[in-house]
């Protein structure tokens, strides 16, 4: 392949300006990797393009950057979408017919009871107090039983003492 002829053909200019066909682009990218001359010619052309654009530059009016920033921020705000309204099964007569045919009616009411969080402290206190009450009851029961036994022992002793 004659590299110089390829560079002179003007295909590099077409590529830089985006006017080359897909096939030409693929071919050029392949040659760019393969031949350093083409790579440097392309680089030189890109630099030239930048110089040309600098010569034709038009300074933007003051406040243009602020306008761009404001516009970007405007785009960045996510619009609030209206929630999607699902059609209620009640509204859909076909759905009701279908439901009757295919499904068994099941009571959907919940058996659970909802209690406010603050009640947990009350339940805990009741639980602790009930345990204390139970311990006390056992303690007094044992005390009582012991006392009964002592009385029984004393009664037996009294019977054994001979009457003078």
């Amino acid at each position: 392949m004659n590299i110089q002829q390829y560079i002179e053909s003007g295909i590099l200019e077409s590529y830089i300006l985006g006017s080359a066909s897909e096939e030409e682009i693929h071919e050029l990218l392949y040659f760019k990797d393969k031949y350093p001359q083409i790579r440097s010619a392309l680089y030189e052309l890109e630099t030239d393009m930048e110089l040309i654009a600098q010569k034709m530059a038009v300074t933007p009016p003051p406040g243009m950057w602020e306008k761009i920033e404001a516009s970007i921020n405007e785009v960045a705000i996510i619009p609030e979408y209206e929630p999607l309204k699902l059609k209620s099964p009640k509204e859909d007569s076909n759905y009701n017919d279908l439901k009757r045919e295919q499904f068994i009616e099941v009571e959907s009411e919940s058996n659970q009871m909802r209690v406010h969080k603050n009640w947990k402290w009350v339940f805990a206190a009741v639980f602790v107090l009930s345990k204390i009450f139970l311990i006390c009851a056992i303690y007094f029961y044992l005390e009582n039983r012991q006392a009964q036994q002592q009385i029984q022992v004393l009664k037996t002793e009294l019977k054994q003492i001979p009457v003078k």
Binding site: G10, S19, A53, M56, V58, K67
Partner: protein
Amino acid sequence: MPYSLNELYDKYAAMLLGYISGIVDDAKLAEQHLVSIYNKLALDLSEINTEGCNVWCHLQKLAQKHLSGFYDTARANNRAEQTDVNSYYARNKFLGLMSEEQKLVFCYVYYKGKTTSQIAAELKKPEESIRKALKEAFIIIKRGS
């Protein structure tokens, strides 16, 4: 070194506005297009920061793509292509240094985003001669600048 949007504005906004003004010939409209292009750019900065990518060439292609609708509208309005090209002459001093064919090819490619094959078909000339004229136009601009 990756560019931030602000850096891209500082370095290339004037060049981009010059390029857009060359196409639309309306200062206010060109500014609006500049804002839109930077909006698009903000969405995909990674592409422009790819290694081996010439930033200006990428920006120019982006502007060309953005303005493709403008070319279509101009075509839809049945404006004569030759008249359009004549309007560019006053905006680009380098065009005065070129031959008629070079001017036409350069304007078609640079300002109108046409491919060399499209121009070849329109002007009924071989594609090689179109590419050659484009190359010569570039040499003239380079020497003249």
